[in-house]
Point group: C2
Chain length 195, copies 2
């Protein structure tokens, strides 16, 4: 009997094949043909799931986002002190291991690729802007923020720091090692919190 493969599982397999092709060859190598080959499928079989490269692109980006969201939700359910929780959540976004480095590289490649085509594609937002606002609101609700801070500006600044550090950890990973990523983030969080 032929193996029954769940439709969603197959779509995930194809998206993961796309990630591997992007990591190996960059966006310009991420043709439907190369992706089908990496996934071990015929071109026709792949087209059963995704009409074209754009469909696959949007799905693969959505999946990167979903995976990060799931990890963050798992962290949020743990029992931690507020400042530790904030650090743990940020460290699920900022790349400090092979998995998150790969995700970030794929995300950047996507972003650069779709930059001038946003009006054609339904590109998912990465959710970090809303996330940064939630983190600042959480610190504030926990009574940890220093007095006199502008919450809106703090969220904008945290958002910039998260993505800036993420980009540097990706493009300059030899200099900006995980320990220095953590030190910088902890320095920033401490700078806006009471002792």
């Amino acid at each position: 009997m032929p193996k029954i493969v769940n439709h969603d599982e197959r779509m995930k397999q194809i998206a993961e094949a796309m990630w591997r092709v992007i990591l190996d060859k960059g966006m310009e190598g991420a043709t439907v043909r190369n992706i089908a080959e990496e996934a071990g499928l015929s071109l026709g079989a792949l087209r059963h799931y995704f009409k074209n490269q754009d469909d696959l692109l949007v799905y693969a980006m959505t999946l990167v986002r979903e995976r990060a969201t799931e990890r963050i939700e798992a962290v949020a359910q743990q029992n931690m002190l507020p400042k530790d929780m904030i650090m743990a959540v940020i460290l699920e976004i900022v790349p400090i291991n092979e998995e998150s480095l790969a995700e970030m590289e794929v995300w950047f490649a996507f972003m650069a690729h779709v930059k001038h085509r946003k009006h054609e594609l339904d590109v998912p937002d990465d959710g970090i802007f809303v996330g940064a606002h939630k983190l600042i609101a959480y610190l504030n609700a926990s009574g940890l923020l220093k007095e006199g801070l502008d919450l809106d500006m703090e969220a904008e600044r945290l958002y910039a720091i998260i993505d800036g550090i993420a980009m540097h950890a990706l493009f300059d990973s030899e200099r900006l090692q995980p320990e220095r990523v953590k030190k910088t983030l902890r320095y920033h969080i401490n700078s806006i919190c009471v002792d």
Copy 2:
């Protein structure tokens, strides 16, 4: 008599044609053929200046960097208060007008494109990391920094904020307008300076 065109000028023209192609079609459209057409040259004439796409890529990135450096040096020669000077320098990097938005887009496209080929190409550094250290050292020398700050961490944080804001101004330009870019940067500089 044929028009005499300076060799360097011609190389710049070709690099600028490459930028226009990238802005219009993205990296995947930046073929030597398309660039020659945009520059109004034959393929053979372009190859007289650049052996291949990689040569052109490295030159075009170097030129983006040089132009930003020239603007920053011009700002640095003006007579301004230290905090205003810091803001003016940062605003030559962070995109707040059409020219710097285009430069940043080209730079991001380059970075994503060369990410997995850094060992093959002599990719220029953007100089922002060193620049952030200089800005913090300058604020410190001017006696403006608050006491107790860690200069190394302040430079790392400023570097992250500059590139994070730059990226958001590029990819989310409708939300993050120039006024909000300036407000966020000023908020950060004020947060590390004495009143």
